[in-house]
Symmetry: C2
Subunit: 240 residues, 2 copies
């Protein structure tokens, strides 16, 4: 049995979802609605005690963290490899996936969470308090407390935008140097990980990420979107 619990083809949930589709591995598709707080039910917390998504369940084994899940999928399903064979290219792939987890994702999360403020601020205060108390992960709880109480302030938003500019500049330079893909001569887990976040920057910050502002990243996004696995992923209604 192989099952993926996910929020659909966006951010950290996209990472293992696309990897599974690229590899053509059959899996049970377990969509959770974040708007209906389905990741905070007792049923799901039996699988993921901190309510963190995505989670892969493989027979009786639970694998967490999207970056780790994809390395696990490479270890268990080595056909259709998405991890470079050369150790040095593989190391650079890992530097990129780490960079997304530690720098790209936190910056984009600030803007994404800020965008959720109008929705979250409509939730009844007592109900929001009960939801906060049910959130088992302290950092997630803190983020939602900020969003529901005040939203991020202008300095925090400016810092996030500045970081995202640096991310896109770094990708732009890497693609100018390396060619079609972010490391080596083939599409890899580094491209998938970056693609889990980059469309969000293109949508929210077109002054930073667009055909004119970042032509290499723009062309790279279109190359990824043209992949059959990505079209298959985009063609499915996960929020059914």
């Amino acid at each position: 049995m192989l099952a993926l619990y996910h929020f659909g083809p966006v951010a950290n949930s996209l990472t293992p979802l696309l990897c599974l589709i690229e590899k053509g591995v059959d899996f049970d598709d377990r969509f959770l609605s974040s708007r209906r707080w389905e990741h905070h039910t007792a049923e799901f917390q039996a699988i993921s005690p901190e309510g963190m998504v995505p989670v892969l369940v493989h027979d009786d084994r639970i694998v967490t963290e999207s970056t780790v899940i994809n390395e696990y999928l490479e270890d268990v399903f080595p056909a259709m490899p998405l991890r470079p064979a050369d150790p040095w290219t593989r190391a650079r792939m890992r530097v990129w996936t780490k960079y997304v987890d530690e720098f790209f994702c936190p910056a984009l999360t600030v803007l994404g969470a800020h965008g959720a403020t109008p929705f979250v601020s409509q939730i009844d205060k007592d109900e929001m308090q009960r939801r906060l108390e049910r959130m088992p992960n302290a950092e997630v709880r803190k983020k939602w407390a900020i969003i529901s109480e005040r939203g991020f302030d202008e300095a925090e938003l400016a810092e996030a935008r500045s970081r995202l500019k640096r991310v896109i500049d770094k990708m732009e330079a890497a693609l100018a140097d390396n060619g079609d893909w972010i490391v080596g001569d083939a599409y890899s887990l580094a491209d998938i990980k970056l693609y889990s976040m980059a469309p969000g920057v293109e949508r929210i910050l077109p002054d930073i990420c667009s055909e004119t502002a970042s032509p290499n990243v723009f062309a790279w996004l279109r190359r990824i979107e043209a992949r059959p696995a990505v079209q298959q992923m985009r063609g499915k209604d996960y929020a059914r």
Copy 2:
């Protein structure tokens, strides 16, 4: 040619240093003095443009990020394996190394940097400004600006201590559940990564990490210290 640039057997520099010694791989030992700011020389920045340490140089290839360096060493020198053979145990190893990078290390860095305030505050202001301007990494620059201007405030220090308590509690529970080592039935890269940070908690916060406060972590620290590779590492004067 295999060379490791490092700050000695502490924090992120310890991670690849101990891995190399455990594997018995010969390497050029390139100690850099952080107090003499040797990682901000033009010579070193030709190798590591952002002045980040540790760095592994293998023939003409440069590998950065201690966690990635250790995975690279496993890929290139598979003898004396420190990465579990079982994919699921390997995934749990990676969740731990990721946790150290994203949660444990940042929290310990706040207290470590705070401890450096008396030393840093003695540096002439103009000289400190010149040093800040030479720091190519924005996050590192920001950290040193905080230390040299005001130090961290009590709320920041309390938050860091609270996080470190959660780290030690988590390690304590994992060791109670798993036995001698943090994952699987053998010492692995997860133990090395945690050992790069845990002695700092034992030294700075004995109320959190000690024989009485965290007996499993205490016994695990002593098990690691008894390893020949660790004794070899501790027996050498890196700050020569």
